[in-house]
């Protein structure tokens, strides 16, 4: 039943990550720290899911600075937004058919 749903997005943590980043304007990025605070995930858990999304080309991350002053920013790519739209459409179709 869940076959049409993109498995990269269709996991609670990654769905929340993508939905949160999609609430930003298209060209903006969010710091790792704030994303972690908003989603209440552990750093290790968040990093694992971010890597999966990054590997799929759905988000980009960029770290600037070094040591304690370093800052990692995460942004949804155009492909990521498109994937979320497709996922939302598939979800709507599935729920409508249930």
């Amino acid at each position: 039943m869940t076959d049409p749903l993109d498995p990269v997005i269709h996991a609670p943590a990654r769905l929340r990550i993508v939905a949160t980043l999609a609430a930003l304007p298209e060209t903006d990025s969010l710091s790792f720290t704030r994303l972690q605070r908003m989603l209440e995930l552990t750093p290790g858990n968040l990093i694992t899911h971010l890597r999966k999304l990054e590997d799929a080309g759905y988000l980009t991350s960029e770290t600037s600075g070094n040591g304690r002053a370093s800052r990692t920013s995460i942004a949804l790519t155009r492909e990521g937004r498109a994937a979320l739209e497709t996922y939302t459409g598939a979800l709507r179709d599935l729920i409508g058919g249930l």
Binding site: A13, D28, R51
Partner: protein
């Protein structure tokens, strides 16, 4: 520059529990709504609070000038009350802005700063006109009544109209238009009633904007 892959962190996470489509839809809607609310520069509750504070300030000004013949202008206590209301509004706005934009970077944040600067600068317009009127000998009706009541609404409201139009933010456009119209009304209803007209106009604009943003909330 590097990214997530370079962060030295012990990572362990699985894909979590099986996610039912209905549950996924609920999670998507709730998370998106939460994020929009946290990123919002004008959360409905804060906007409603600001609308009430501003209305209270204008009502105090109106009460302090009602029945004055000839018109002298608001009392010192009333002016202190409105300055307190403005201070509260500014403090709340700064707090909300900082909280909403924490950790966000990109063109939209820079754009918001430019828009905020333009709006803040437009607040200078009315006191400058007021000063010029006083300089040229205009009476208290104009200098301490009509201009300070109507001027900020027309000048700041028009600036916000432009900002809203450039972003196609139609609820904000409608709110700013209500404020500008109230400012125009305030020009013609007399110096004391001008404060009440201004207060009602700002209240309707800000509270209306809060109500329009309401559907985004969970």
């Amino acid at each position: 520059m590097h990214g997530i892959g370079d962060i030295d962190q012990t990572a362990s996470a699985d894909d979590g529990d099986e996610l039912d489509p209905r549950e996924a839809a609920r999670l998507l809607a709730r998370t998106g709504g939460d994020a929009r609310r946290q990123f919002s520069l004008s959360p409905p509750r804060v906007s409603a609070f600001m609308a009430a504070v501003i209305l209270a300030g204008y009502v105090v000004l109106w009460l302090s000038t009602r029945g004055q013949h000839p018109y002298q202008g608001p009392s010192g206590a009333a002016v202190a009350a409105i300055y307190s209301a403005v201070a509260v509004a500014v403090a709340v706005s700064v707090m909300v802005y900082r909280r909403a934009t924490a950790g966000i970077s990109g063109p939209s944040v820079r754009q918001q700063r430019v828009e905020g600067t333009a709006i803040l600068l437009s607040y200078l317009g009315s006191p400058l006109i007021q000063g010029a009127m006083h300089h040229y000998g205009a009476g208290p009706t104009i200098v301490y009544g009509v201009i300070p009541a109507a001027g900020p609404l027309i000048i700041v409201g028009t600036t916000v109209l432009g900002v809203a139009a450039s972003k196609a933010d139609w609820p904000q456009f409608a709110a700013a238009l209500a404020v500008v119209v109230a400012g125009i009304v305030a020009l013609f209803v007399g110096p004391s009633a001008a404060w009440l007209a201004a207060g009602i106009g700002v209240f309707v604009g800000v509270a209306g904007y809060a109500a329009a943003n309401g559907p985004y909330r969970r």
